[in-house]
Symmetry: C2
Subunit: 226 residues, 2 copies
């Protein structure tokens, strides 16, 4: 895979997800920053790549793709022989189905709750108001029910989809990384199986490579300068 | 595939999605009704199948799966040689990636808007109030922007992911079917490419087989009797 380009920002959770996946597969890529703060993502050149005007997008030779989870699936599928088999495609349709089931759980249950919490907690002041604690509390409650399911599941299997690390785990990394900087990190730390899983997946070299870009984001600063 | 069981309700859009997919693949299945109105989905027997307590779920021999879009992907993958190649797995990773991209568009853009509209329009009175028009209007606006993208896309390709019918199209059927019974059906009918696509996909025999169960739902009636 030569000439791979990722359009996005290293602080963006969805961009980071794609970058982690590329690092897992040891694929060299170029990150092209999209200036969200000046509305570059809503201008015709970027809209030609993603008509919904959202980052990230991937360019691989003459293919352009958007939607981070479609991008990671493409990378995992195209490079199934390199690095970890992130969709368990070398197993039966049953194993692959279980990966996809837990990918949907992340997408439909975990992410809506956790992303609203971190968005509200870290960016409310940029919109000139205090974080809406009611909104945060609602989502913390939902996140708690999801984590209870995870705690039970991760008591039975090392990773969400079974004994192997897959996209179902990988997709949790960026949002959970930010969440661990909020006052509610105990929701992870107080659930032993979830905590062990988090410590494990968050120490993978492919993730450590993208943390620096995520950590550089000063949530209290002037984003336009970034 | 023998002994396939679907847990759900024919009026449920997510259950219907799974049923349409099984019909496309000409797979015989048994539909086991889950009594949502008496909370059967929140009781231990069903929670053992889906810990999130939501329909539908699939049972195929010793495999149980939840999350409708993971179920349809599993069916399409396991039965890729039967009926239409709903994930374009006989093509290159590029074609399969484009299917998945448009599946994510349905899941992350189209569905959140349209499902809120139909839920609010058809079920508000069951909760003892009038439909929240502000909520409907907000989602109609978002749906309009998504349909503008579809109109352009479907001017270039017959189906969302290219020249072939795939899960990216199939997943739109149940929600759009209900939406066409609302006062805002013109949003589909007034966009010529979207209208032609809708007329095409909604006339497929596999979909016609599930319509009866969806149509039998009397939104104004007492659901407990259903």
């Amino acid at each position: 895979m030569t000439g791979v380009k990722v359009y996005g920002l290293p602080i963006s959770t969805c961009t980071s997800t794609v970058m982690i996946c590329l690092h897992e597969k040891q694929i060299h890529f170029q990150l092209l920053h999209v200036d969200l703060f000046n509305g570059e993502h809503k201008q015709p050149p970027f809209l030609a790549i993603n008509p919904f005007g959202q980052i990230p997008a991937l360019e691989d030779c003459d293919l352009t793709l958007f939607e981070s989870r479609a991008i990671t699936s493409y990378i995992a599928n195209k490079h199934k022989e390199t690095g970890p088999d992130l969709l368990l495609q070398h197993q039966t349709p049953r194993e692959e189905a279980i990966v996809k089931q837990w990918m949907k759980v992340e997408s439909h249950h975990y992410n809506p709750a956790i992303s609203r919490i971190i968005h509200e907690f870290f960016t409310a002041h940029l919109r000139g108001h205090k974080p809406n604690q009611h909104l945060i509390d609602q989502n913390l409650e939902h996140l708690g029910t999801v984590l209870d399911v995870y705690e039970k599941r991760l008591g039975a299997t090392k990773y969400l989809a079974g004994p192997r690390y897959t996209l179902a785990d990988l997709h949790h990394l960026p949002c959970t990384f930010y969440f661990m900087k909020t006052p509610w990190a105990s929701m992870i730390n107080d659930r032993p199986n979830v905590k062990a899983w988090w410590d494990n997946i968050s120490s993978r070299p492919a993730f450590l490579k993208v943390i620096e870009g995520m950590d550089n984001f000063d949530f209290g600063g002037d984003n336009k300068k970034k």
